[in-house]
């Protein structure tokens, strides 16, 4: 953790209801620069709802999401204007979808996909954009000669890596990840996790990772929140929660993992 003591993201009492149903209720936590937070829980436990509320894709019914912006310091992103929030969404924030198809433009070449965020923030030099795109494809281990190929010709793992490159090209400070390894086979998962861990450490990124795969949080996350029925039932350091779960549900979750 860096010496900077003010949190990068401070979530206070986020609640989201779908009618009478609870999406997530009264979730609060602080995320410090360079920290990776894992959110685990079974399907329907409100992980994705929480992530979407924090990333501004859903409007929470209550609570604040205070982000430490570069220009104006801490600001509540729930009440900030939409242009500001969308600007954050393509500069300081990144969102990695579970399905690469949701996060990529499938009809646009790999280079165009990576370059889109650059062009969205005003880059207007083709050579520079292409140079950065090539550089980033290299960093996510995609051959430079695939730069003009469409993502439809890529494998699932490559698409996911391309999505990561596309998100990180503008140097965001906070990455939201929704099941980044879902739907990939284990060897590809391992490579992707390795890559993600390297990028997070090298760039000093903060990240919030939603997953149901405990191995992913074991490898990537510094801290862990366990969610059940829309509420956080346990939180703490990853190793602490996984090795000595206190809540009955956390114990169930940890013991459900097949030991090979």
């Amino acid at each position: 953790m860096s010496a900077d003591l003010s949190p990068l993201l401070s979530v206070k009492g986020i609640s989201k209801y779908y009618g009478a149903h609870i999406g997530c209720a009264d979730v609060s936590f602080d995320l410090y620069p360079g920290e990776v937070m894992g959110i685990v829980g079974e399907s329907g436990s409100g992980k994705s709802t929480l992530l979407n509320c924090m990333a501004g894709h859903l409007a929470p019914d209550a609570g604040e999401v205070v982000f430490d912006t570069r220009a104006d310091g801490p600001k509540d992103t729930v009440t900030m204007s939409e242009p500001e929030r969308r600007m954050l969404g393509r500069t300081d924030w990144a969102f990695v979808h579970q399905h690469a198809r949701d996060g990529l433009r499938m009809g646009v070449s790999a280079g165009g996909n990576v370059g889109e965020r650059l062009m969205a923030v005003g880059e207007r030099h083709y050579g520079d954009i292409r140079g950065k795109a090539t550089d980033w494809l290299g960093r996510v281990e995609i051959d430079a000669d695939r730069i003009d190929d469409r993502p439809t010709t890529f494998s699932g793992g490559m698409q996911q890596r391309l999505q990561i490159a596309r998100n990180l090209v503008t140097g965001p400070r906070l990455v939201f990840m929704d099941e980044p390894t879902g739907g990939l086979d284990v060897s590809v998962q391992a490579r992707l996790l390795d890559l993600l861990r390297g990028l997070v450490r090298d760039m000093g990124l903060s990240a919030i990772i939603v997953t149901h795969d405990l191995a992913v949080v074991r490898l990537l996350a510094d801290r862990l929140m366990v969610m059940k029925s829309g509420r956080v039932v346990e939180s703490g350091l990853t190793d602490q929660v996984l090795d000595d779960p206190q809540h009955a549900y956390s114990q169930l979750l940890v013991s459900s993992v097949l030991q090979v």
């Binding site: 165009g112 062009m119 969205a120």
Partner: protein, 301 residues
């Protein structure tokens, strides 16, 4: 004609369209929704342009219609006769004499004046349409000025073809604010849009949108710093009038590979020929082989 109201549409409809036009003029490049009417012609034949023309025409106007620059093609002839019958306005083929010009896919070569209105027929008014299919999203992108995607299209062009291959409907930015589709005019015409003394109105009937450029509006074609916008045309001179500065159509003349380039603006070409200019394939050119003799020569060899 007494059966029709002046210029076909009823007064309330024209009033509604004029309101959309005024709003469009007040916000240059912004697509104003309007309640497009069913017109006695199929969509894609200029229903938007016709409604805009009907709303701006007055009995004193002189009307000109061009289709790809030509006054004598089906679309131009039928729309011209439509307004001759329903509005009884005078028509002309001479650009400088017309006060309202409806056009499909061209801007006349002759510079327009403050006394003229240019009405464009627009098939798809949304420049972001093929990049972002959701209308709700494109509207948001316009309102928040998120135009990065437009450059993605140009990027793809360069990545695939080595240069910006978009040659018509080339996107422009109006007064540093709205990105606009200039209708499918060749990009050769793009520079004429900016700072034009005439009023430019764009009507899309099927898509129910009207947008406008008031006189002397700044219009900039989008590009990259290292791949600047270029107004391109065929690298030839007009075969009939010899013009080197006009946009040219390529016409196939036989099945032996014979072809000629002629001005797409027929009025401009005729004007030049009347003034004594001629091109290398024109009948007045003594050194030019006529088409028949050319064919005979080929037979002999």
């Amino acid at each position: 004609m007494t059966e029709y109201n002046f210029a076909y549409l009823d007064e309330q409809t024209k009033r509604m369209i004029r309101r959309a036009i005024l709003k469009g003029l007040a916000i240059p490049g912004y697509q104003v929704p309007f309640a497009s009417r069913e017109m006695p012609m199929p969509y894609g034949w200029g229903t938007g342009g016709v409604q805009v023309s009907a709303a701006v025409l007055t009995p004193e106007d002189r009307f000109k219609v061009i289709d790809q620059g030509a006054d004598d093609t089906t679309n131009a002839v039928s729309i011209r006769s439509f307004f001759e019958r329903t509005a009884g306005v005078a028509t002309t083929t001479t650009t400088s004499e017309a006060s309202v010009i409806q056009t499909r896919h061209r801007v006349p070569e002759e510079a327009l004046t403050e006394d003229q209105i240019l009405v464009y027929q627009v098939p798809i008014p949304e420049p972001l349409r093929f990049l972002e299919p959701r209308e709700s999203e494109t509207r948001k992108m316009h309102s928040l000025e998120e135009y990065g995607l437009m450059h993605v299209k140009l990027y793809e062009d360069i990545a695939r073809h080595g240069h910006i291959a978009t040659s018509y409907a080339y996107p422009v930015k109006v007064e540093g604010r709205y990105v606009m589709d200039p209708s499918p005019i060749p990009k050769f015409d793009n520079p004429k849009l900016g700072n034009m003394p005439a009023i430019q109105l764009f009507g899309a009937g099927r898509e129910q949108r009207i947008y406008a450029l008031p006189p002397y509006t700044q219009v900039v074609s989008l590009d990259f710093e290292d791949h600047p916008f270029e107004a391109s045309k065929a690298d030839h001179s007009c075969g009939l009038c010899g013009a080197t500065d006009s946009y040219l159509d390529e016409v196939i003349t036989d099945d032996q590979g014979g072809r000629m380039f002629v001005c797409s603006d027929t009025d401009y070409c005729e004007g030049r020929r009347a003034a004594g200019f001629f091109g290398e394939m024109s009948a007045e050119n003594p050194s030019a082989p006529t088409m028949t003799t050319q064919r005979n020569l080929e037979f002999q060899t």
